[in-house]
């Protein structure tokens, strides 16, 4: 019996979500009396996974895997799962993990549940809790297959250091024809992506135009946050579609979500319900977002945001 996790990395470095899936898998392993094996692709600093609970690392180094490809990656993980006789496979809910997991499920005839937010409530039957109805509810779902695939929501479990060590083995799966060839990638590499971010600063139509996004970016920078927006903002072309949050955009599961000049329409809230702490800045005290928020400021963004930036800078300087 073993648990396999797929740990994502970027430019050789593990993503936070990778350490989170290892922490999560370790908690299941402790309950099951088994151990965690991490599958990594072209990453360095492999020892760090031991600290989060992996006891073994299968390290794949292959230049053919430098760009992500769902089918080849799924096949590599499938081969690792077979070698280790894995019963549970944990992946994250990044765009890439969600892309490969269904293919992996078919390859292993495994039941797969995505958007899982807690450790299993029971191992037999294997039952996990996940978000449903676009974050308006939760479902408790049983997986009845021998091999179970769990897609863990980012920032839902957190990082747990266990101070262990991992043994490292090279792993060389045979790679199938990919069928899908990456021609070009267009990605802001210096920015925190919404999926990984612990804090998200988001602007709506209340900001009046793209020229006013300077203060949103500055606030995000002070907080080490990702920037996001409501749907009309991306429809109007003020911001790229990849920043659009909500039912038809990206889901956000950050620890802190700051919504500025966003009304809080149900379709927008659907995307951010699983964020933990929500702050709203809006001129309209009746904006529906105040009902969903933890903290609110009724006020003009053009006055409040510069003040908030100034206060946060002072706070950071004092707490540095």
């Amino acid at each position: 019996m073993s648990i396999i996790v797929y740990t994502e990395s970027e430019n050789g470095k593990f993503k936070k979500a990778a350490l989170e899936v290892v922490s999560y898998a370790k908690s299941i392993a402790d309950q099951m009396g088994s151990s965690v094996t991490a599958v990594v692709v072209n990453a360095d600093d492999l020892e760090s996974l031991g600290n989060y609970g992996a006891s073994k690392v299968l390290s794949i180094k292959n230049d053919a895997l430098n760009t992500f490809n769902a089918k080849t990656y799924a096949s590599a993980i499938e081969q690792a799962a077979k070698q280790e006789a894995a019963n549970v496979i944990v992946v994250s809910t990044s765009a890439d993990s969600k892309y490969l997991a269904p293919l992996l499920a078919v390859g292993l005839e495994a039941g797969y549940v995505s958007n899982v937010i807690e450790a299993p409530s029971s191992l037999s039957p294997f039952t996990v809790k996940h978000t449903a109805f676009t974050n308006k509810a939760f479902a408790n779902t049983e997986i009845s297959t021998d091999i179970k695939i769990v897609g863990l929501s980012n920032n839902s479990f957190g990082l747990v250091e266990s101070g262990g060590n991992a043994s490292i083995e090279d792993f060389s799966p045979s790679l199938p024809e990919s069928g899908v060839n990456v021609e070009s990638v267009d990605k802001a590499t210096d920015k925190v992506s919404i999926a990984d971010a612990e804090t998200v600063v988001s602007g709506g139509r209340g900001l009046k135009g793209p020229e006013n996004w300077g203060m949103i970016e500055e606030l995000a920078e002070v907080l080490g946050a990702a920037t996001a927006c409501s749907k009309p903002v991306s429809d109007l072309g003020w911001r790229p579609h990849s920043e659009h949050v909500g039912q038809t955009g990206k889901p956000v599961a950050s620890n802190l979500y700051i919504a500025i000049g966003i009304s809080g329409a149900i379709q927008h809230l659907a995307g951010i319900n699983s964020s933990k702490v929500k702050v709203v800045i809006n001129t309209d005290a009746e904006a529906p977002f105040f009902k969903a928020a933890d903290y609110g400021v009724v006020g003009d963004a053009f006055e409040v945001v510069p003040k908030l930036i100034e206060k946060l800078k002072a706070f950071k300087a004092a707490n540095a």
Partner: protein, 248 residues
């Protein structure tokens, strides 16, 4: 080109979500059902292929008879024929297996599914369908061109996008971006009349075996009231975020 568009029948976004029978069943009382928004973008893109490049477009749903109005709506928008696989959609894998049978028997070149349906949000049916039919697959697809049997697609990734080339047979998980929202179609009178005469075939399900089962549902605990901070007292907000919420 033979296109199949997978249509999920889902509660309208603004629906109140409730459960019955001891929180084990979704309560459909008073809920309006619609074509899943992600599928609507795909259906409209399929119409574009039909009109600009010559393609036939079938739509399919795995579900009970109650989903037929949703399929008729897709016909009214312009699909040529509809298929309903007569079984309750209980988990992503079994839905994908039913769809895979329709795809293989119908010999489709391009299958357009939605990124995820807004009820269970599993986001797994398109990928599983691609795996089961041995087709190429592009998830989170926000742009698609087909030239003969070659396809170029754009996929949304975390923090940006990626352009890929691939070939038919192809399955995509599509979403907003495939077409402009202003191009989404509302069925007109003529479409609705024509839809009545278009074929809607009911197929009986295969024996597939469900792998996952939702056994109960919960709603989030009611939220406490928002704490309002005066716009002239932003220090207090910073202090609350630090001391109380512990997020900075």
């Amino acid at each position: 080109m033979k296109i199949l568009v997978c249509i999920s029948h889902v509660p309208d976004t603004t629906s109140k979500i409730n459960f019955t029978e001891g929180d084990t069943k979704f309560d459909i009382n008073g809920v309006q059902f619609v074509i899943n928004p992600n599928d609507e973008f795909g259906l409209t893109r399929a119409m574009w292929f039909k009109e600009k490049q010559g393609a036939s477009v079938d739509v399919v749903n795995v579900g009970g008879v109650e989903t037929e109005p949703t399929l008729r709506k897709a016909l009214a928008i312009g699909a040529d024929a509809a298929i309903r696989v007569n079984t309750q959609a209980t988990d992503g894998f079994s839905v994908a297996k039913e769809l895979a049978k329709v795809v293989s028997e119908g010999g489709y070149d391009l299958v357009i599914a939605g990124r995820e349906s807004i009820d269970y949000n599993g986001g797994m049916v398109p990928g599983m369908l691609a795996g089961l039919t041995n087709s190429n697959f592009v998830a989170n697809c926000i742009g698609l061109e087909v030239d003969g049997t070659n396809a170029k697609a754009v996929r949304e990734i975390d923090g940006g996008k990626e352009t890929v080339s691939t070939a038919l047979p192809l399955v995509i998980g599509g979403q907003k971006g495939l077409v402009e929202e202003s191009d989404l179609r509302i069925p007109n009178m003529r479409g609705i009349m024509m839809a009545r005469k278009k074929p809607l075939t009911v197929l009986e399900p295969a024996e597939t075996g469900v792998k996952t089962k939702a056994i109960s549902f919960e709603k989030p605990a009611p939220k406490g009231a928002v704490k309002l901070v005066d716009a002239d007292n932003i220090d207090e907000l910073v202090s609350l975020l630090h001391n109380e919420a512990k997020v900075i």
